[in-house]
């Protein structure tokens, strides 16, 4: 019963939506809202990255580069040149998608570690450019980004909005907005996975040789999914920049790329809801551990290590396997 429930993709989406609806009851103050909003944005990025890592089996160590490019495109277009937010976001995503396509074509011919190395280099190049083009990006000290704006509406985390007689605070509005974005991101990813493209990708993951033998154009699908995941990162980077109000080249850093990959691996490669859990855990840990000060990094590393040793498939797949095993045992006992 639970097993079929978990396997149905739309039900998963409904569970996620329910969680997002119920969650505000447990959020004590604006800071909690803010944290969850960030988690949603990062989770949507990781859902995109998971398409590449979890389904196509390609490792990208430079994804923060695309995230940072999106963030800076938005920051520069809206802040310096006064563009409205939505066109900036869309054009940014197209530009990043195009860059990913150009970069991806030669890179995705490489296999295994070479691909990781190449994406690593791309990420570094982007980070260095953002650091050094001081006139454009503000250099290592970063740059401010104006509030997000939809159809003349400014969505600021400090504003107050009334709609149909209900007054909501800016941080609540952002929470709702980010939740919707996450749901759309997940819905799109789930559909893509179930489509012929998704099946082709999984065949590439299973065995590239076998896939090409049965007629799958592996290079084409790999570069397609690379572009899609880069667009995910760029869009979320743009939203992140608006939400944060200030960006520094750290958003494109190697550490951030590693964090993204860690979220995928920790949550469960190839499990869309698992990687969301991974993002939540990794965003939450630094805040939970903040009180431990010096021990923070030690505990952070320890938690990651133990999870990888005892739950090598990732958090969610291990947990669901555990639960469904129990359920089956119980059902068996009754019969």
């Amino acid at each position: 019963m639970l097993n079929t429930f978990m396997q149905s993709r739309l039900r998963g989406l409904i569970v996620l939506a329910l969680i997002l609806i119920i969650l505000p009851a447990f959020l004590g103050n604006p800071f909690h809202y803010e944290l969850v909003t960030q988690m949603a944005i990062i989770a949507a990025t990781v859902v995109g990255l998971n398409l590449l890592v979890g389904f196509a089996g390609q490792i990208s160590l430079g994804h923060a580069g695309f995230f940072g490019l999106g963030a800076y495109f938005t920051g520069i277009a809206t802040g310096t040149y006064g563009w409205p937010s939505v066109p900036a976001l869309v054009v940014g995503a197209i530009v990043v998608g195009f860059i990913a396509w150009i970069v991806g074509r030669p890179i995705l011919r490489l296999k295994g570690h070479y691909l990781s190395m190449a994406t690593l280099a791309v990420g570094f190049i982007i980070a260095i450019i953002l650091n050094n083009e001081r006139a454009l990006t503000g250099g290592p000290d970063g740059m401010p980004v104006p509030a997000f704006e939809i159809f003349g509406w400014e969505l600021s985390a400090f504003g107050r909005y009334s709609l149909f007689g209900i007054t909501i605070e800016g941080f609540q509005a952002w929470y709702i907005f980010a939740s919707v974005v996450l749901l759309v991101a997940v819905w799109f990813a789930l559909n893509l996975i179930e489509s012929p493209i998704g099946r082709a990708l999984r065949s590439v993951h299973g065995s590239e040789v076998a896939a090409s033998v049965v007629g799958v154009n592996t290079a084409k699908y790999k570069s397609l999914v690379f572009v899609i995941s880069a667009i995910y990162a760029s869009l979320m980077g743009s939203l992140y920049a608006h939400f944060q109000g200030f960006i520094t080249p750290a958003v494109a850093s190697f550490e951030f790329s590693i964090l993204f990959i860690t979220m995928v691996v920790l949550g469960g490669m190839g499990s869309t809801f698992g990687v969301i859990l991974g993002a939540v855990v990794l965003k939450l840990l630094p805040q939970v551990l903040a009180d431990f000060q010096e021990l923070e990094h030690v505990m952070f590393g320890l938690i990651l290590m133990l999870t990888m040793i005892f739950m090598p498939k990732g958090l969610l797949p291990t947990l669901t396997a555990f639960v469904s095993k129990k359920m089956r045992k119980k059902a068996g006992g009754e019969a």
Partner: protein, 385 residues
């Protein structure tokens, strides 16, 4: 639980007995001072002494009866030198911990990342970071205690001018500090009618700057050399400078004004000049210097408590905390608007870094003269001006 009630009651009684203030139930609440600092990570040399200073003086103020009859409570987070976590912790301080004032932000990046949020949340904020962008243009809720890099450039160039130098070569690091310093130096030089005849840079990971220095030496008309940088880069530049046997007057920025720089550069540093906090030469200050006592006390107290060398960066936190305390006392409350107004009107506060005269146009309140020009002589700092 019972114990803390007793302890708190005891404290209240002591304060009341001292006749400091009438205690109301509300006034017994501690005043919350929030801080986000780079205590670990690459900027820990800033955040570590800053945190130690805050901790020790919050303790001291509390022992002396607190502020407005209330105890201070320090809530601090470590941003690891990462701007986005600095912003998140600033948000946590404002929204979750609901602090009354924030004293923190070790680096310019961390400070600037938190500024939009702080401006919107309307909480007084005293930054401990250097770059001029923090207070120029003036932001309503943002103040800072260190001198700006622009002042450092002004101080150095004024000293050059006094020595009759009008053309100099500039070598700067490409990091945040170096590149901001370079921009300011170029602007100040133009304003003062001086000429930067050579302008070269090095990256943070370079291990030899002989090429750049040779380039400067071969530029015709160069009369002095200025290095704007942070970390180990300037020490390498200094050693290369000596190895090349360059005789021109040599200047460093305030970024290396610490004893560890002297250790790194060794005898090569002899003869170079830099602008620095009086904290490096507490005993050479003339007796009529208003800062002398403050500087000596801070140094003595810090070194006694932590058993480690005092640092200029910790002094920024000292001044930040004392300015905050003074503003709250003058405002007579912790109302953000009142504290902010009081901060803006602070005149003649004698700190370790300098004498602060705030105004609506100047949220830093220091003048370039608060930097002392020091020269390295026989491996030690010597006060020149």
């Amino acid at each position: 639980m019972f114990k803390t009630v007793i302890r708190r009651a005891g404290k209240c009684a002591a304060v009341a007995a001292a006749g400091l203030m009438m205690m109301s139930a509300q006034a017994a609440e501690p005043i919350k001072i929030g801080s986000f600092l780079s205590v670990t990570g690459p900027a820990s040399f800033l955040g570590d002494p800053e945190l130690k200073t805050l901790e020790m003086y919050v303790e001291k103020i509390n022992e002396e009866g607190g502020v407005l009859g209330r105890q201070l409570e320090l809530i601090h987070y470590d941003d690891v030198g990462n701007a986005s976590s600095a912003r998140n912790f600033a948000s946590r301080l404002i929204r979750s911990d609901q602090v009354d004032i924030i004293v923190g932000g070790s680096t310019t990046g961390a400070t600037m990342a938190a500024v939009p949020l702080i401006e919107q949340a309307e909480v007084p904020f005293i930054s401990l970071a250097g770059a001029v962008v923090i207070t120029n243009p003036v932001k309503k809720w943002v103040f800072k205690t260190p001198q700006t890099d622009r002042m450092a450039a002004e101080r150095i160039l004024t000293d050059m001018k006094d020595r009759g130098i009008t053309k100099f070569g500039l070598i700067s690091g490409t990091g945040g500090f170096g590149s901001s310093g370079r921009t300011q130096t170029l602007e100040v030089a133009e304003a003062m009618g001086m000429e930067v005849v050579a302008d070269v840079t090095y990256s943070g990971s370079d291990t030899d700057m002989t090429a750049q220095l040779t380039n400067i030496r071969n530029t015709s008309g160069v009369e002095a050399v200025l290095n704007f940088g942070f970390g180990q880069g300037p020490a390498i530049v200094t050693r290369n400078y000596a190895q090349l046997g360059m005789e021109l007057p040599f200047y460093q920025s305030h970024g290396v004004a610490s004893d560890s720089f002297l250790e790194l550069a060794g005898s090569a540093a002899n003869g170079l000049r830099l602008p620095a906090s009086p904290l490096l030469v507490p005993d050479s200050l003339p007796d009529d210097d208003p800062q002398k006592e403050v500087v000596q006390n801070y140094k003595a107290e810090y070194e006694a408590r932590w058993d480690s060398k005092v640092s200029t960066f910790g002094a920024y936190a000292y001044d930040g905390l004392m300015l905050a305390v003074r503003a709250m006392e003058e405002a007579g409350s912790t109302d953000p608007e009142a504290v902010r107004n009081a901060l803006e009107n602070i005149q003649g506060y004698v700190g370790v870094t300098g004498v602060f005269n705030m105004s609506p146009e100047d949220h830093n309140g220091l003048d370039p003269e608060s930097f002392r020009i020091l020269e390295v002589q026989n491996g030690e700092w010597k006060l020149i001006d």
